[in-house]
Amino acid sequence: MTPGTASRIGWASVTPALLWTLAFFALPFLAMAIVSVYPKGGAGFSLANYGQFFTNPSYWRAMTNSIEVTAIVTVISVLLAYPFAWILAFVVPRRWQRLALMLAVLPFWTSYVVRSYAWLLVLAEKGVINTSLLELGAITEPLQLANTRTATVIGFVHFFVMLLTLTIYANLKQLSPNYRKAAADLGATPLQSFAHVILPLTLPGIMVGAFLTFVLAIGDYITPQILGGNNELLMPQLIMMQIGRRGDFSSASALSIILMVVVTLAYFACARWLRIERA
């Protein structure tokens, strides 16, 4: 095979995937960028849609809501998942670990839409929690749980605890047991060994998981729409509202691009942080 043929075969094999990505990912993105600077019903080029984001308090509010909810979800999920992954990795007997882990992430396989609906069954006015509490006499009026930020957070945490348990478990299992043994030999208590040895070693993995949580949660429409309702809008809900109710693709595109910028900033914040950790 001559170098010329080799490179022709190489290009031929990568071209279909590249073309697909260009045509159905890059081009749509370009279309979105163009649409975003020609506001609906406007005379021509204008950055009004971007300006609106900073001047219209309800748009700004959607972004701060999104960031708050996502940050809360990420922190709670990591705090719940870490000890759980630890137990699965070090307390559960070896032969049961695989089964225990598989059980822990089984509901992960429920359809995303169905999972949020299932939480509605639990949190609704006449749902399981309210009925049980009323019968126990702990409350006299049903609690408003569905259609609140709390419901959105619970739905998200449920999903991401499973995801993070998986990633943190994999992380913990990769550590050589010698680290813990060495720390113990040198006189560290289990708590010291955890704080000074295990935690720093697993931190990069946690950051990756946390970043994944942040990215997936901030772009999700389903959970806030089903569980949070329309009392308080998050960015994806605001974007869908622009498309659905108003047919305003221009404004929806601008908001999407702003959301992507925020995610990219988060990525760079995490990437730099991670690199420092590894050095």
Partner: protein, 257 residues
């Protein structure tokens, strides 16, 4: 004592993780009109209602069709490109690989909306094909990343040997590379299937009358809490768990063999 605390904590988390799914399945057997306590069943009337609902059954067929075809396409495209980048020195390779994996970082909502705008411009109507195109966009980077990571040098040597013995490139690809990489190909196809099977936003934006199961389930949600939604949700969960178990068994067999 420590084991005690650990057990209690683990049980609490298992409880949290399984609570909604347990309620979903339990109240899918509800005998009355609302999936709320008290439970008065078991009854199969809502499963019957699901199977007699033409919209849900056609949504189910559409979902299977879209999942299988888009996963096959994404796996083939991912395989070809992974092979090309791993075996040939192409200028700008790192940049192009970055381009192929870029959609992984973008929310499905934004990918779906971009396609909607593009198809509007081109005058293409909403359809299952449009949604399928979107599903390939989200799954191709995944397939590429999985297969590319498994392209090792030992396989390159076997490929070279086959070429020296006179095999054409197509033969090398189909008879040598693909069989050696089958676990990665299987994992790619399988993961794509589960993502496509579950995907909602892209299908919601890009289909109209003929649509996928998650969109049909979404439409059911407008009726509020309804045991029929429980029944179809429990069925979908059952299918997914079955797929997970098959995947686990295949993965286990591979490790033991």
């Amino acid at each position: 004592m420590r084991t005690m605390i650990a057990s209690v904590y683990a049980m609490a988390l298992y409880g949290f993780i399984f609570l909604p799914v347990a309620m979903l399945v339990l109240f899918s057997f509800q005998g009355t009109l609302f999936p709320i306590p008290p439970f008065n069943g078991p009854s199969l009337r809502w499963y019957e209602a699901v199977l007699n609902d033409a919209r849900l059954t056609s949504g189910l067929m559409n979902s299977i069709l879209v999942a299988v075809t888009t996963s096959a396409l994404a796996t083939v495209l991912g395989f070809l490109s992974a092979w090309g980048f791993a075996r040939f020195h192409l200028p700008g390779s790192a940049l192009l690989r970055g381009l192929i994996t870029l959609p992984l970082t973008v929310s499905y909502l934004i990918i779906g909306m971009g396609l909607l705008i593009l198809f509007n411009w081109l005058g293409l109507p909403k359809s299952l094909i449009a949604a399928g195109i979107g599903h390939v966009v989200i799954n191709l980077p995944l397939c590429f990343a999985i297969i590319y990571s498994q392209m090792g040098d030992h396989q390159a040597n076997v490929e070279r040997a086959a070429r020296d013995l006179g095999a054409s490139e197509i033969k090398v690809l189909l008879l040598i590379t693909a069989p050696m990489l089958w676990p990665a190909l299987f994992a790619s196809f399988f993961l794509s299937m589960t993502f496509s099977w579950d995907e909602f936003v892209i299908a919601f934006l890009l289909t109209r009358f003929d649509t996928t199961l998650p969109v049909e389930i979404w439409n059911l949600l407008r009726a509020g809490l309804n045991p029929k939604t429980n029944a179809v949700g429990a069925l979908v969960f059952g299918v997914s768990v079955m797929l997970a178990i098959i995947f686990e068994l295949v993965a286990l067999r591979r490790r033991n063999s």
